[in-house]
């Protein structure tokens, strides 16, 4: 179990800067997620942590050691690759034991450790097979076993589940989480899947164009996204973005929501940051589940349903507010059909405002 510290790390390939001023700090035993769209630099950052790529600037600390000049094998790390990267000419036993063999661990100790890891991952019956004789899920398991065998201080995962089918992915995700709970090995996990990020991570760094957009707990990212990019990336269906004008509303500020069939003025909780935007257009962010169906007697915004998407536990309703497409996540109910009138009220405590120019969140 090691801590990890990344200080002002930069990385360029020729003239292209793929990582810009990356700063991260992870306590021992944490599960850090690097998430972002493809090309955001998350895998490059992981390779830098592993020592497979040199950084162009900054420092990487694993535990109490600055490892910039330390070779991958001496960084006390293990890595699981997207392609698994099992050695095809060795059987499963050989694959798991290879790292220990390279470190001159005696044969008896190697065998004992292989047996232990195989038991932990329930793959004792696979030990004598070659990788070609394994299914995708089994290969994944062996790749994890190989990484586990050396009890590394830091575990690196490079999109380990993206080659699996949807069902297996969910199973393996839970298994990875269980494994982490049991071993408590500090982990860094790269993914482009926000659900994987939210379910696995104790902390998430969300990246775009080589820059960390926000670094926080899953809850932080979901409730208080730093900017429009984070707000749109985390959550499914995505957060709704509605253009609104901040108007004075009595002592405070409010926004007006308008549809073809109704209007509603929502007062905002008082916040010093809002004042500067009075009478300006900003982007209102509201999660689909924060648009509540209310009784017609309560203050509400009447909307016309454009489209109904039942998912089982919830039903997604598509409608328009201030000209923007909006999704509301509501409980399934009779009478929810296209064209029906719907009475919605946003949960005022969960409204977020974003600057239209910079995309940054305004307020608390």
């Amino acid at each position: 179990m090691q801590s990890l510290k990344v200080v002002n790390v930069a990385k360029s390939f020729g003239a292209t800067q793929v990582l810009k001023d990356i700063n991260l700090q992870v306590a021992p035993g944490e599960f850090l997620i690097l998430v972002g769209p493809s090309g955001c630099g998350k895998s490059t950052l992981l390779n830098c942590l592993a020592g497979l790529e040199d950084v162009s600037g900054g420092e990487i600390w694993i535990g109490e050691r600055m490892v910039n000049a330390v070779s991958p094998k001496d960084r006390d790390i293990a890595m699981v690759f997207q392609s698994y990267a099992l050695y095809p000419n060795m059987d499963v036993r050989g694959n798991i034991a290879f790292g220990m063999e390279m470190r001159r661990v005696p044969k008896a100790a190697r065998d004992a450790r292989v047996a232990e890891v195989a038991r932990m991952l329930q793959m004792e019956d696979l030990l004598d097979r070659k990788p070609a004789q394994l299914s995708g899920g089994q290969r994944q398991r062996v790749a994890m076993g190989r990484a586990l065998a050396r009890s590394p201080g830091l575990f690196l995962f490079d999109e380990p589940l993206s080659n699996l089918d949807a069902k297996l992915r969910v199973e393996m995700r839970a298994e990875i989480k269980l494994l982490h709970q049991r071993t408590k090995i500090t982990s860094v996990y790269v993914t482009h899947d926000q659900i994987e990020a939210m379910t696995l991570g104790s902390r998430i760094a969300i990246m775009k164009d080589g820059v960390i957009q926000q670094f926080g707990t899953p809850e932080d990212l979901y409730q208080r996204p730093a900017n429009l990019f984070v707000a749109a990336f985390i959550g499914s269906p995505s957060m709704n973005f509605i253009p609104v004008v901040l108007r004075r509303d009595g002592a405070g500020l409010g926004v007006e929501l308008r549809t073809d069939v109704g209007t509603l003025v929502v007062s905002l909780p008082a916040h010093a940051g809002y004042a500067a935007y009075a009478d300006q257009t900003v982007t209102l962010g509201v999660r689909p589940e924060s648009l509540l169906r209310v009784a017609v007697e309560q203050p509400n915004l009447a909307c016309r349903v454009d489209l109904v998407e039942p998912t089982g536990p919830d039903t997604m309703l598509l409608t328009h507010i201030n000209g923007a497409k909006v999704v509301a996540r509501v409980a399934p109910a009779a009478g929810l059909v296209p064209g029906a009138e719907l009475h919605l009220a946003p949960d005022a405590g969960k409204l977020l405002l974003f600057d239209r120019q910079t995309g940054s969140r305004i307020g608390p």
């Binding site: 095809p88 000419n89 995708g136 080659n163």
Partner: protein, 280 residues
């Protein structure tokens, strides 16, 4: 079913089959004639070149194998071919690995330089090679032949191996590096086993011309105890008469090692060793 059966025999597929049959006949008939002729006497060969022997006599084989130096020629051929192959395979694998997987400054230039070796026929270099070997004291020596053959085979070997090494997944190398393997260990424990089928291709492709070569031994080798098989078989070409039967028997015997080599290595082609290396 009937539709399926009908679609197999389109006019084009029949044409292709005919072409393949023709090709097979073209390859097999000369070999069969040589094999059958090795059991016939010279007179019989002259009278009925394509007929079966009156009696399946082993006299020709006895003559060839009894000819004092045949064993020596055979041994020399094996030594020269094996020596050259050891050099070709080990050097082209290592050079191909370096050129295919390490980015360094003159990588492209070096690769081109080696490939240029493919474009220069050895026959053109006969005189300079002769002078060079003479200077090095390697004229009339098996070592001289081995070095010249190795140099001739390496460009093709490097060409083949570089391409295949380049295509191997980078993650394997990274995984091994994190596991603590040295560059040499990554090469010979992880990567080399994955290109064994390709090494077999290089071996067969380069060994056949070396085993059969007549020109270089005749120019570079003069001592009878250093002659190779093709050179040695020329004793059956007399000044006025050719001992056809013995010649065919000699050719038949000399083809056996190559056939054996091919049978051993062809299994490698079929083994899909890279299967399952990455996502499958």
């Amino acid at each position: 079913m009937s539709r399926r059966a009908a679609s197999v025999y389109t006019p084009f597929s029949v044409f292709l089959l005919a072409l393949l049959v023709l090709n097979t006949v073209g390859v097999v008939v000369p070999l069969a004639v040589a094999l059958v002729s090795s059991f016939k006497s010279t007179a019989e060969i002259m009278n009925a070149p394509f007929g079966l022997p009156e009696s399946w006599s082993l006299a020709n084989f006895a003559q060839v194998l009894g000819e004092g130096n045949f064993g020596i020629y055979f041994r020399n051929s094996v030594l020269v071919t094996a020596g050259a192959e050891v050099l070709i395979l080990s050097l082209s694998a290592m050079a191909g690995y370096a050129l295919g997987r390490y980015p360094f400054r003159f990588n492209g230039a070096l690769y081109t330089l080696i490939l240029m070796g493919l474009m220069i026929p050895a026959k053109l270099l006969l005189v300079p090679l002769f002078l060079q070997l003479k200077q090095m004291g390697l004229l009339d020596s098996l070592w001289g032949l081995i070095l010249v053959y190795a140099a001739g085979g390496i460009p093709a070997g490097v060409f083949i191996m570089t391409g295949f090494f380049r295509a191997l997944p980078k993650a394997l190398e990274s995984a091994a590096r994190i596991d603590g393997a040295s560059e040499w260990t990554i090469f010979h424990r992880i990567m080399l086993p994955l290109v064994r089928p390709q090494l077999a291709i290089v071996a067969i492709y380069t060994a056949i011309p070396i085993w059969n070569d007549f020109l270089l031994p005749i120019v570079f080798i003069s001592s009878p105890e250093l002659k190779t098989l093709p050179q040695g078989l020329s004793v059956f070409f007399g000044e006025h008469a050719v001992n056809m039967g013995a010649l065919f028997a000699g050719l038949t015997v000399s083809a056996l090692p190559l056939i054996a080599l091919y049978l051993v290595l062809s299994e490698q082609f079929i083994k899909g060793l890279t299967a399952g290396a990455v996502k499958g």
